[in-house]
Amino acid sequence: MPRDLTQEIHNLIERGRDRQLRLAVTGLSRAGKTAFLTSLVNQLRHAGIDARLDLLKPAREGRLLGAQRMSQPDLGIPRFPYDEALASLSGEPPRWPEPTRGISELRLKLRFKTRRARGLLGDTANLTLDLIDYPGEWLLDLPLLGHDFLGWSETQLAAMGPERQRFAEPWRRAVTAHRPDETLDETRLAELAGLYADTLRQAREAGFSHLQPGRFLLPGELEGAPVLQFFPLPGIAEADRRQLEALPAESLYKTLTRRFRHYQQHVVKPFYREHFRRFDRQIVLVDVLGALNAGPERFEDLAAALTTLMQSFDYGKRGLINRLFAPRIDRLAIAATKADHVTPDQHPHLVALIESLLAEPLKDLRYADVPVRAFSLAAIRATENREVESDGQRQPALRGHGLDDAPLLLYPGDVPARLPDAGFWQRQGFTFTAFRPPRADGGALPHIRMDAALDWLLGDKLR
């Protein structure tokens, strides 16, 4: 305990001096969180040596001395597998880091020279940067905290588009055979929940992202526990709440409500309380190209998921008081990841597209007077810009290796500045090719605009 207490006091003092920063790296699954974190650690470790960080002002001015991984504050949580990620990047052939299956933490200590000497304090200072990595699937459970079972059931079923309805058909047929006041045995409940989980899994495979509850997709240590055996009930609405509340405790409705609440209170809430409440800065990573590849329904689905997701964070201006006791996110970056998968001239469109994707949350942020900037970035740059002469015209192209290690030289296609109309999707659609990462050779990882994003997120703390 005393150790915890001193740690807490130390944290409080550091926060008071504005020398500690918690950065939320937010993104749904496959958005590139792990790659971003790996690259971030790598760039900061190599700052001032061989990392090209021209747009990060302290690094450009030669004031950033580097970063070190510290022992993290919470000893009960695994450390972010930086070395494993680097190992998979320098493998033969190089692979992207494994998708995250659980929470991990990372504490970085940045050391920099201050702009002006600070008298007796010398001219170097530290900034502690806390980062966590987690499966993107779990993130979508956060909006679930704002619902009760009845409301959740309704929104879940209303959110299904035609394609997801198709996946849900077997489950729906099975569940409509039962009435809310029936009493079901455990096996049947488990069966129905299994069918529902299959529905979600299929939808994820098809590229959907707005999938709740997230633990159904990635149960972690909760595999097979009854808390994961619930599902939304079709055919109930707010109007019959009184009737439903009066049902006996063993009824299907009541059982599901109980489990839903348990899931909320004992699975989602601790996750939120321990990891998501106290952030100072946030970067939202979105795989826009993946969503474009998947088609319009999934694009809308992604926009809806991000909109509900961003309501789970606190945004607003900071003063000393709420820096100490109620931290809020006072600066935000939104980033379209995998920008190296398109040619440089398409980057402005990528930025425009992510801004239109997040149009709703951006309005709220503007209302809260929180500065936001949009970036197109690639945490680890997998391609090289080339020019090709074809039909007498010079055409930009990308060179890299496909996921199967085959060398590729291609023009990936235009990125639209706005979501195209329905006709376009039927005619053509998008097929952006995936590339494997370049081989890491111990030097700084190549990147696109990591430096600008870092400058926006951390630059003002490194003065």
């Binding site: 090209r52 021209d54 747009l55 402005p348 425009a352 801004e355 949009a374 970036f375 197109s376 696109i448």
Partner: protein, 353 residues
């Protein structure tokens, strides 16, 4: 006396009577076929260019002077040429020599004039490039025009500033620049790699010049000499600052730039001056405690410093961002220290005697 007039009822005008000519022009609805070719409605003209033109100083072309000058040059050449021709025919060597001399003088004058005009043009081109750099590079990525090629602008800046391809500053910019950098990012890199070393050199120059001016004015015995010194040193400083940013000044272009800087100081700098003036007055009062001369010297030094900063702001191809801008407050301390040193040495010189 006539009787009071009886009441009278006027006819209420009906709606149809009230119809005026305007109503006759109201058009009814008309549906076009969706396939019919149409162009986007023209948007209303932005008012800013007219406003800008009104705010800019009035531009006068002195046509009369120009005609007079070219005509006298032309006539003079003709005259001298004719005289030379006749003199060679007639063997009048002296007249021939004089007219040859005249031709030479006209040629030299013309060359000087052309040089002036060329330098003026270069100054104007500098101003235009500055405008282009400011306009086409919006601060954030969202409004970035796609047709602007950042590297082409950077190249234009390089040639304007007269930096060679192999110059280390340009090379380091090229190394830092990547194809995916947006216009705003390119601008940031340009400002860092190309302009910052020159900013620093200019700042050093101003510090030195203003400190020396302060000392000179403090020790000079005559007011008239003070004024001449000030003018001379300020113009020299302006020349060197302009040269740092790649501008060769001739007589006319120097005059024009000087005028611009002064106008800048008088109008644009007024708000900035309010904050600085208080400190200036305070430090001048302090200096006057040392001696009246020191007070005057400090005043002159600060004026030079302010002129120098304005000159940087006027000639720098990319406008400063808020935190790059050199501040007068930093310079003030240095000028003050120069004077203190002078005073100290004067004190120590007096004591032994």
């Amino acid at each position: 006396m006539s009787d009071p007039r009886p009441g009278r009822r006027f006819d209420q005008p009906t709606a149809s009577d009230e119809r005026t000519d305007d109503d006759a022009t109201l058009r009814g609805a008309h549906a076009y076929l969706p396939e019919q070719a149409s162009t986007p409605a023209p948007e209303e003209e932005m008012p800013s260019p007219a406003l800008d033109a009104a705010l800019a100083p009035p531009r006068k072309r002195r046509w009369g002077l120009l005609v007079l000058l070219t005509a006298s040059l032309g006539l003079g050449t003709l005259e001298a040429g004719q005289t030379l021709y006749h003199a060679t025919l007639g063997g009048d060597w002296l007249a021939g020599a004089w007219s040859a001399l005249g031709l030479l003088a006209i040629g030299l004058g013309g060359k000087a004039l052309l040089g002036e005009l060329w330098r003026l043009r270069k100054l104007r081109r500098h101003a235009r490039l500055r405008e282009r750099l400011d306009d086409t590079w919006p601060a954030s990525g969202e409004g970035a025009q796609e047709n602007v090629e950042p590297l082409a602008l950077a190249e234009a800046l390089r040639t304007q500033m007269g930096i060679a391809q192999g110059h280390p500053h340009w090379q380091s910019f090229i190394a830092a620049h990547e194809a995916h950098h947006s216009a705003a990012e390119t601008r940031e890199l340009l400002a860092w790699h190309l302009l910052r070393p020159r900013d620093q050199a200019a700042r050093r120059l101003i510090t030195r010049m203003s400190g020396e001016t302060a000392v000179m004015v403090a020790v000079s015995p005559l007011t008239l000499v003070d004024m001449a010194l000030m003018a001379w040193r300020n113009i020299a400083m302006l020349d060197r600052i302009a040269a740092l940013y790649g501008l060769q000044l001739g007589y006319a272009s120097r005059l024009r730039l000087f005028r611009e800087v002064l106008r800048n100081m008088a109008f644009a700098g007024a708000s900035e001056m309010v904050t600085d003036a208080g400190m200036d007055l305070l430090s001048m009062n302090l200096a006057a405690k040392l001696s009246t001369r020191a007070g005057q010297g400090l005043g002159a030094g600060l004026l030079t410093a302010r002129l120098g900063l304005r000159a940087i702001a006027t000639t720098r191809p990319i406008a400063f961002t808020a935190d790059e801008r050199p501040r007068l407050a930093d310079l003030r301390r240095e000028v003050w220290q120069q004077l203190r040193r002078l005073d100290d040495s004067a004190q120590s010189g007096r004591q032994p005697s």
